[in-house]
């Protein structure tokens, strides 16, 4: 009963119309990771959306920010845990394992971040991300103040909100079209 080998439940184009920049991105993924992440393959059904998704993602996760790359991946995993998103838990769980060098941390965040021995800064960040995910209509000044009290700047707060927001998008797209993560993630950084 191995993982299904589809990229998503909708059929892909056999000849996706990738522009040179996206083709280069795919090549770079193969070179660096050994595979093209299925989320990119899925978005290639709609090539213009692929480009936007990829650029949005790269800046979010790799651009300059007061949040470390690990912290951004931690948010990704915790939001995906709240949304039970298989694709994102597998892909970003691996990223947490890799960036932290701590395989158990990836498991804790995927299963219940409250079990992890987090510093107050990170606990505050993840509490904010969880609440934004579950009951966004209740967010208010006290929630932002809790982040300031934990040492985050206003730009950091924006980035926390933006990152948690992004995975509330990608979790839902992945679940709605049944994206499968590449099987390679499972064995990495255990």
């Amino acid at each position: 009963m191995p993982q299904p080998d589809h990229v998503m439940a909708l059929p892909l184009s056999e000849t996706p119309d990738l522009d040179p920049e996206m083709a280069a991105l795919f090549d770079k993924c193969v070179e660096k990771l050994g595979f093209v992440p299925n989320v990119l393959q899925a978005y290639s059904l709609r090539p213009k959306k692929l480009r936007n998704f990829a650029m949005h993602y790269n800046e979010l996760m790799l651009g300059e920010s007061g949040l470390s790359k690990l912290e951004r991946e931690m948010i990704a995993v915790v939001v995906s845990s709240a949304n039970h998103c298989y694709y994102c838990l597998v892909a970003h769980g691996q990223a947490v394992r890799k960036l932290s060098g701590d395989p158990e941390l990836g498991e804790m965040l995927a299963m219940n971040y409250r079990a992890a021995p987090l510093e107050p800064r990170q606990r505050a960040m993840l509490d904010f991300a969880w609440k934004m995910t579950k009951e966004p209509w209740t967010m208010g000044e006290p929630d932002r103040q809790a982040l300031r009290d934990a040492g985050f700047s206003d730009a950091d707060i924006f980035d926390i909100a933006d990152t948690a927001g992004f995975y509330n998008m990608s979790n839902r797209v992945a679940s709605a079209v049944d994206m499968m993560p590449n099987r390679e993630y499972h064995k990495l950084d255990r």
Copy 2:
């Protein structure tokens, strides 16, 4: 007790570092709408994110798709209703009023889309968007099949998922940083 006049609860840069393309976008907004939407002003706190948000948004809402522009706005409003997002309900409620020429339709979608006399195609689309928003982990093949039965193609299903996903992101960012919609929206297309 008028609407607060902040753009969001976090302070904006007084001299946002807009590149020429974004500066042109802001000018175009003023020309066409009479104002720069506050979501763009808020993202100008992080100019690279602004560009990605704007490009992502434009393709999503204005690019080619089997979904009409009105249908995409209908999804925006219904997702925002499920998430009680003030910013997006005001801005996209106005868009539904304008594109449909039917002010009451905007109200019905913002308040409870089940009250609207929708065609089966649109009801199916909005049921899918609501479920994706509230319980994304339960999505499955029967949900996609219901869209196919209502006449949607696989690419349309991808676009429905992507659109509903996007507003689950922007609703949460807006709520988390308390974005206020520009007051101009309120009076338009009543």
Copy 3:
């Protein structure tokens, strides 16, 4: 795709058996508002219930109370927002617009009252009404004390509870029989 023109999803009596007092009430509505609110027309299916509903309503919303008429309408809108009741959001949203002279306030309360720049007194009142609506079994002395701390008397607390309770009734009746608000409300007091 205009709003359906039914009063409710159940057929009305063609010759409702209104007693003289109720007939006078209907006439007075036409004179003052230009129409008979559909909730009254719906209740005319059961004329004795109509009388009780009307008397109950009039005392609640217009009788003497430590709550202003606007505050009572604010509670009506916030409860209806929690319950996604189209009928009541339209009818009482208009009342908030009219009584406050602030069209945006009506929108904020209908969409997410936490976005509104409320005084502490009114925020406390609406927090109480929201909690009563969503999780009535958790209400306790701390909730009542929060109202006292915000300046409400015990009789005011009773009136807040009674008003929030009433709209939890009318929201559900309206939703269960698909009452449509009179279309006239939409354009008023924008």
Copy 4:
């Protein structure tokens, strides 16, 4: 640790200003039941509201309807179970025991109506009342049709909705002001 002996958590007037009709109602309660139900004593804090509540209640529960008095009490108990309302479960649980002559039925409805061996008509009625209580925004034509299929007329459907609505009001008022049921109910009709 007996039940608290307050009528509600708010102080009552020591000299409630009852009009002659309400004073007569209180006398009649004492004569027939041996006590004045605490909900009436609580409402005497606001005498005009008391009158409306009493008249509304009497027509609802005792007036002509296609629903038997027992069926109306069954709805009262099931709604109160969904809302965990102590006052109403005690008072209307007793009413079900009395009207049905079946003490266990009262317990089943108060605890979980799905455990009761109900006829399809009554199961349909209670499923409708439960759903109206928990997720009123989802009510639609299929819910009404299920009642018609179970033999209910349109006027009956109105009465089911109205009855379930009423207890969603009274449950919340009782919980918000901590009304205690008269202790006499507990021992009756066991």
Copy 5:
């Protein structure tokens, strides 16, 4: 419409294969209570499970503990109230009535424990049990500290958790196989 007379919705073995110790337990139940509790009869479908259930139960509810037997029954009832479990509310509601000598306390705990005039110790214990039942993933050190502040030892905290856990099991088994409580419980200790 009396309570159904089945033990559970699954057929029992006509000749359950009880070992001598379990047969003796059944005899002892008849002697002491006048009947064999249906939960034991239901488990006799799987005799080895019956033995484990019975031993687990006896130690939990009757063994040495810093919690009184009444307190353990109070937890049983409150968890069962959160889970709307008919079987356990009937059986353990009777136990609370008997052990407390206070029939109203049994009703309050079954319907809404927040209505009961509890000492802080017991309120803290039941708040912990309710939260564990509804949102176990949110439990943390502040919840345990609240119990310590109310006077509980660490071993007591373990016992509270264990007791609340047990009824989350038995409630679900009872609901899943539709166990009916023995009718004798209803009349006892009123």
Copy 6:
């Protein structure tokens, strides 16, 4: 930031009073697994409860049943996923990996079982377990019939209910006292 090395948040006895049979069980665990599972160490705070837990567990998971051992572990993981229980997801996720020889299956069940390519029998079993966990009060004959339609016997249905029930207990105890799984689980059977 490795996993905390406590067994649980409550202090253990330094000299737990294990009877010979339990001491032998601990020795056997060390021999077979290389460690004593922390859940057993935690229960050794209350040695009589330890014995009952261990016997209950062994029969449930290893005794005769129409459910395979893998199927019982699948239920354990899916219930624990619904309850976000870190301890049980780690320990039973490993068991699924081992018994199935399919590491990805363990991940899918821990994250969202609906992503797994299950046979109808197992999907029905897990749908039942999820529903029992989330809304036990709604279980009814149609849920049992769905299991029969998928080929389960009545005794199997009892075992499914009993197994799902058990993990609703152990998940809550583990979360309430913050049990940490032994770190050895993480690396096994990847």
